[in-house]
């Protein structure tokens, strides 16, 4: 029992990432009808927003500290972060420590801007072109973005830590009545799950309960009629693209402590999140979220040693296998609407 519980928990953090990226992909597909192969790159840019902020906070200059001497008796040079001199040592250190959560604030405007530029500058011209062209041009864009990031940050993964408070793990099993040490779960993964739950419900609430969201939903159902009613639907869809980019970016920001970001993490996540979107059903937001968590949890079950001993290698391919079966048996996905991209 506790093993099952542990695997469900383990699946949640990966599932949250899949769900967030797939949600953005589906938003873009549902509103603009564009298949965005550069969405993984947006996730990666988000992660590098966190890296950038951490680097910015850590900028330092050297001072000669008379109180410390090296073994020859000369005074040592000590790195002092600018933040610590400006804000005082305690507050400055706190900023450095909390750089990943603070990067959320930094990442939202950056990602929205990136999304706007992408949509207005490139994707706008591809609405009328076939899906194959959209895939190709966004694939090219993904390569370009990846190479730019590689130039600035190098090819190696960059460690970006969570705040000290969230390092370590929680004995989660005790809280729900299992033996101590049976279910150990790192704090940050819990934070990630809660964060993604908040973001996802925020997006759903936004679409459900605001006038803007209502117009967007109406546009998703019938773009032309909404346009005929005198509403500038294109502008709203552009804003939705920005929001989708921000969601992918936030998923990336918060994922950095779990996986040290490198320039091709986007491509790795892209394939999986496309699979998630297809499993959930093209154009279905709840489907994308559900399939994200489902596949995350399935993957963590498949990587259990007991399962692997029966079906070797299953942990590597389970997601693709599920996707293939779903596509063949139920092509519109788990929660897809009949007739949406169902060929």
């Amino acid at each position: 029992m506790d093993v099952i519980f542990l695997q469900v928990l383990n699946g949640l953090d990966k599932g949250s990432a899949y769900a967030l990226i797939a949600l953005g992909l589906t938003l873009i597909f549902g509103t603009l009808g564009v298949v965005n192969f550069a969405h993984g790159a947006l996730f990666m840019i988000g992660a590098f927003c966190a890296v950038t902020l951490q680097k910015l906070f850590g900028l330092s200059y050297q001072v000669i500290d008379e109180s410390k001497k090296d073994f020859l008796g000369n005074p040592l040079k000590v790195d002092v972060a600018y933040l610590e001199t400006w804000l005082g040592p305690e507050l400055g250190a706190a900023f450095v420590n909390w750089s990943v959560p603070l990067a959320i604030i930094f990442a939202i405007p950056v990602m929205v801007l990136v999304g706007f530029v992408m949509e207005r500058g490139l994707i706008k011209h591809f609405y009328k072109r076939p899906h194959a062209d959209q895939i190709l041009v966004t694939f090219g864009l993904a390569i370009v973005l990846q190479e730019i990031v590689k130039y600035f940050y190098g090819a190696n993964p960059i460690q970006t830590g969570a705040p000290n408070m969230f390092r370590g793990a929680l004995d989660f099993g005790v809280l729900v009545g299992f033996e101590p040490n049976a279910v150990i779960y790192p704090y940050w993964r819990l934070v990630y799950f809660l964060f993604s739950a908040v973001v996802i419900s925020g997006i759903f609430a936004f679409l459900r309960f605001t006038t803007f969201g209502m117009v967007v939903r109406a546009g998703m159902a019938d773009r032309e009629t909404v346009g005929l009613l005198g509403i500038n639907i294109d502008k709203r869809f552009t804003i939705m693209f920005g929001i989708a980019a921000a969601v992918a970016g936030l998923a990336g920001v918060m994922y950095t402590p779990i996986l040290a970001p490198n320039y091709h993490m986007g491509m790795d996540f892209l394939v999986l999140s496309f699979v998630v979107v297809v499993v959930g059903g093209m154009g279905s937001l709840p489907g994308a979220v559900m399939a994200g968590f489902l596949l995350g949890i399935l993957q963590s079950f498949a990587s259990m040693n007991e399962v692997k001993s029966i079906l070797p290698g299953i942990d590597q391919i389970i997601i693709y296998l599920v996707a293939i079966i779903i596509l063949l048996v139920r092509p519109r996905g788990l929660m897809g609407k009949r007739g949406v991209m169902e060929e």
């Binding site: 011209h125 895939i135 390569i143 699979v275 290698g313 391919i317 293939i324 596509l327 991209m341």
Partner: protein, 400 residues
């Protein structure tokens, strides 16, 4: 000749001549001159161009004719390489058993994948092939290690059985004893031209593959495939089951990919799983689109352009750039070199991505369409008063 009409025969002869004289054509700059680094006439690169040309021509039979965008073709390339190396290990270092096996195994593999994937079309087909290829890649890395030797890659070792090779047989892939790595160097007019057995072997196979593709393009079968691209639903309504046609196209292009994989193993008897990763499938898509999907010559041009630029661009480093722009004033020179070095050397992938995006945006027909546009520009100037109604233009040659 050989079932081709006059125009196609001429076209085929041009292609054969181009392939035969590639060692001259890709070596246009004399040795020791400043431009010598643009020379691409070394055997390794020329063979790569021929091999990836085969790969792209095969991919084009599927994508260019039927419009099915497969994102998993690298899997067939990888399978072809693995089976070729296994033949080297088990039977003989002669190239023919290896190539035949590579084609057969990849045909079976693509039959399996195609049968499943072709039940869907559009983006679902792309994602199905992508998922299949990723699955094969991951399995090759993990569970199938006894077959694929995992991360190290499959290699030919002296201790392999090789039951057909006797004592004292050649230790490298050979063509009935003729070693593929042997080459003849011709020094002439300050140029060094290399004629390599391996390249010519690949070139002959590429020409045969190209001829087969040409026949497919001109055949009724090819016409049906083109009809699938323009309107599959209508074709179904006329009572034609398109599945066998698309499946044959898929298997044929899988066989081309397997052949290319086998040739890669022939040129360098080593097979690794990284040939099957999905970005490698993306590369052949890029080649085909860059050259011009749906045209005969386009994919070959695309493969050639990408492999050539890849080799040349990655060689150019900052010191070479400094040499080139030494005539500029200092400050300007540094900035020009800085900008250019972002796109060369390590930054080659950036150039590739940008080039690809530009082609997709502005030139959906690829290099071939670009050439056609330029040609049309010149033609219009010469004969401005063409009467469209009374002298209808002949349909453009598909290879142009």
């Amino acid at each position: 000749m050989l079932g081709l009409n006059k125009r196609d025969t001429r076209f085929m002869i041009i292609v054969i001549l181009l392939t035969a004289f590639t060692p001259f054509l890709m070596q246009p700059f004399s040795e020791g001159s400043a431009w010598a680094q643009f020379n691409g006439g070394y055997p390794d690169l020329m063979a790569k161009v021929a091999i990836f040309g085969i790969f792209a021509v095969g991919f084009n039979i599927l994508f260019g004719l039927t419009g099915y965008l497969s994102f998993g073709h690298a899997a067939f390339l990888g399978v072809g390489s693995y089976s070729a190396v296994w033949m080297f290990k088990l039977l003989s270092l002669n190239v023919f058993p290896a190539l035949i096996m590579a084609v057969i195994v990849s045909a079976l593999f693509s039959l399996l994948i195609g049968y499943v994937s072709l039940r869907r079309s559009g983006i679902y087909f792309s994602i199905l092939t992508l998922a299949m290829a990723e699955m094969s890649y991951r399995l090759a890395y993990s569970v199938l290690t006894p077959l694929t030797n995992g991360e190290t890659g499959l290699q030919v070792r002296p201790s392999d059985p090789r039951i057909l090779d006797g004592e004292g047989a050649a230790q490298y892939p050979n063509l009935f004893g003729l070693e593929l790595s042997s080459s003849y160097k011709l020094e002439m007019l300050n140029h060094v031209f290399t004629f390599n057995v391996g390249y010519y072997f690949c070139a002959v196979i590429a020409i045969i593959a190209f001829y087969v593709a040409l026949r497919i393009f001109r055949s009724p079968f090819g016409l049906v495939l083109r009809a699938v691209k323009s309107n599959q639903t209508r074709l179904n309504y006329t009572g034609l089951n398109t599945r066998p046609y698309t499946l044959s196209a898929f298997v044929i292009s899988g066989m081309y990919a397997g052949l290319a994989g086998g040739l890669l193993a022939v040129m360098d008897p080593l097979a690794g799983a990284e040939r099957m990763v999905w970005t490698a499938s993306g590369e052949v898509v890029i080649m085909t689109i860059l050259g011009g999907a749906g045209t005969l010559l386009g994919p070959v041009l695309g493969a050639g352009a990408i492999k050539y630029l890849e080799n040349i661009f990655s060689k150019i480093n900052e010191s070479i750039l400094h040499e080139w722009f030494a005539f500029l004033p200092d400050g300007l020179e540094t900035s020009v070199v800085w900008v250019l070095s972002r796109f060369t050397g390590e930054g080659w992938a950036l150039t590739l991505g940008l080039m690809f995006m530009l082609v997709v945006i502005f030139l959906p027909g690829g290099l071939v369409e670009g050439g056609q546009r330029i040609a049309r520009l010149f033609r219009r100037k010469k004969t401005p008063d063409t009467d469209g109604e009374h002298h209808p233009k002949s349909t453009p040659h598909i290879a142009e």
